[in-house]
Symmetry: C2
Amino acid sequence: MKKYTIKDIAELAGVSKGTVDRVIHNRGKVSQKALDKVTKLLEEIDYQPNPIARSLKNNKIYKIYVVLPNPDEDSFWKPCVDGVNQAIEEFKSFLVDIKLFYYSPHSTKSFQNVNNTVINLSPDAVLFPPIFYKESISIANRYKSAGIIVSIFNNQINLKEAVNFVGQDLYQSGRVAARLMEMIVPKKTDIVICHLDEPFNNATHMQKKEKGFRDYFENLGHFEYNLLTFNADKESLHKSLNDFLNIQKNVSGIFVTTSKVFNVVEVLQERKHKNLKIIGYDLLNKNVSLLKSNAISFLIHQRSKSQTYLGLTYLVEHFLFNKDIPNQKLLPIDIVNSENLDSYIEN
Amino acid sequence: MKKYTIKDIAELAGVSKGTVDRVIHNRGKVSQKALDKVTKLLEEIDYQPNPIARSLKNNKIYKIYVVLPNPDEDSFWKPCVDGVNQAIEEFKSFLVDIKLFYYSPHSTKSFQNVNNTVINLSPDAVLFPPIFYKESISIANRYKSAGIIVSIFNNQINLKEAVNFVGQDLYQSGRVAARLMEMIVPKKTDIVICHLDEPFNNATHMQKKEKGFRDYFENLGHFEYNLLTFNADKESLHKSLNDFLNIQKNVSGIFVTTSKVFNVVEVLQERKHKNLKIIGYDLLNKNVSLLKSNAISFLIHQRSKSQTYLGLTYLVEHFLFNKDIPNQKLLPIDIVNSENLDSYIEN
DNA sequence: AAAAAAAGTGTTTTCGAGCACATTTTTGTA
DNA sequence: TACAAAAATGTGCTCGAAAACACTTTTTTT
């Protein structure tokens, strides 16, 4: 189980460690003879430089800055903050400087301002969820030009500047919801796909989920269910959902494509609807209590906390130990009910 | 964001780094005056020794050996091997030596023999699932006496010698299965709890799951379902399950408490049973294809791969970077259906 | 053939912690 | 006051990789 060092290889090759070092980093000034001998040895031994020694020598404080929507304005982002704080705690004694920056999720201007602040602090890497499509592409370009590594999470957009994306397959999560819904609602009924629009949010999110949901039922081949789409924004929801359900009398289940599923349930509870099965997203506090009381049947967990934690871990280990960063990491699509809920909240 | 070093603290305190070092490791030979000054500084600054420098100086190859049932004899353990191999790959360039040892899951003697081999190789830590209760306690004692760190996973037993347990809350996983079953089978029917005994296996495993399953239905308060228990071993299963189902005509669902759920389904498929809902454990290949074809409704995933990977990660980071090892890590209880299956297999 | 340039090789220092060893200061006792 | 013993403090080396620097050998130019 011997681990070879540069010194070992130098001795075996009959050269100095300076020469071995030149070969490893191919910076020339090495005779063909020495080059061949050392290269051969490196391959035979499968030499791996000691990442700890390398890191010590390097001795640089890497700045990794995270740009997030303010969790006070949209509580969806709270777990992401937890993930960042977990990473800060875990790596506090290492030579990394992880910091958080907030902007207002309702303002592209605020997003741009905060990113301007961050770019001027010249970090080594930034991590952010590209919720504003155009603005994210533009800022990612500027980061890249400034030699700053860009890593994204949560929103999967085609951003060639990003080294890494951590998130979930939204199409597939729609299919997961569909399979669950199929199992818990009776046949020959209506199922509603409910989009709660937030004016600034990336609508492709919800579209991918709807596509997955619909595809699942279409692939079944038989048409036992009637799928309806319902759109509303936060303000109009109360009235329009009531109107909608007053007309649609055969609804057995509602699939809400966002984390704001609790808003829908609140309307339903006034109506004293029984036996309407609800499936939605994310373990927000309000959703969690509705899940516990069985007002929601299933929540799909997007592991927001893990997303930021993992994204940061990739960056830190890349800087400290030269580890490769995977291009994409799609996290499992967790199905949460009232009984396995706690096992996710603790993690 | 400055990171202080021993040298910095020595200069600030007006002493040499030798003195600071003596304070940090309280090995005495320091005057009260110097002690006070340095201690105060250390606290003010919240000094954290650079784990990378510490690790480099340490320069010891840590031997971490994993003792597993042979996966060729019980494929349940295959993912555990994958988890070990993933850890080996991830840490291969660090100063750790992770090795795997197999024994026959049908023989306590073989378990003891392999552990004797391992203890003679004097590793720094061992990781194993304590599937044989008495023998595990005895060997854990001997490891502890030999100064070898013991870490366990999968089987939660009261083993004070172990620094860490990684696994799942089996009682709660039974409850999860119960909640799922409740949602997919009609009321006023019979639900079967099916134990597939393997002669040597720790039966408490299955009992905890049954307890959770039964408790869930009892806590409901009303008795809409009739719970039956069915026991069989691999040999007798075919005949006895057929006999059982010939008598019990009102069965709507079967909860199989082990990963051998495919054995049950194979029997059912001969009978052309329609609409019998099956819930079982673990993503074995045979279970996976039955889940895909909807012959199984849900599988509960015990994250066996993550269990060994995590257990090893804790040990490695403890040895290399002095990180604390948590006493217990209970992994989430994953609900798997045909649609989120792939997202777990890839991870 | 001598001098200059280029190519090749080896040596030394650095990073921070940790510890053995060397040196200085203080204390206790004759 | 002398002076050894004990206590306190400081110095210097190590770990492995990396790279600057110093040195030697070969090649090219005049």
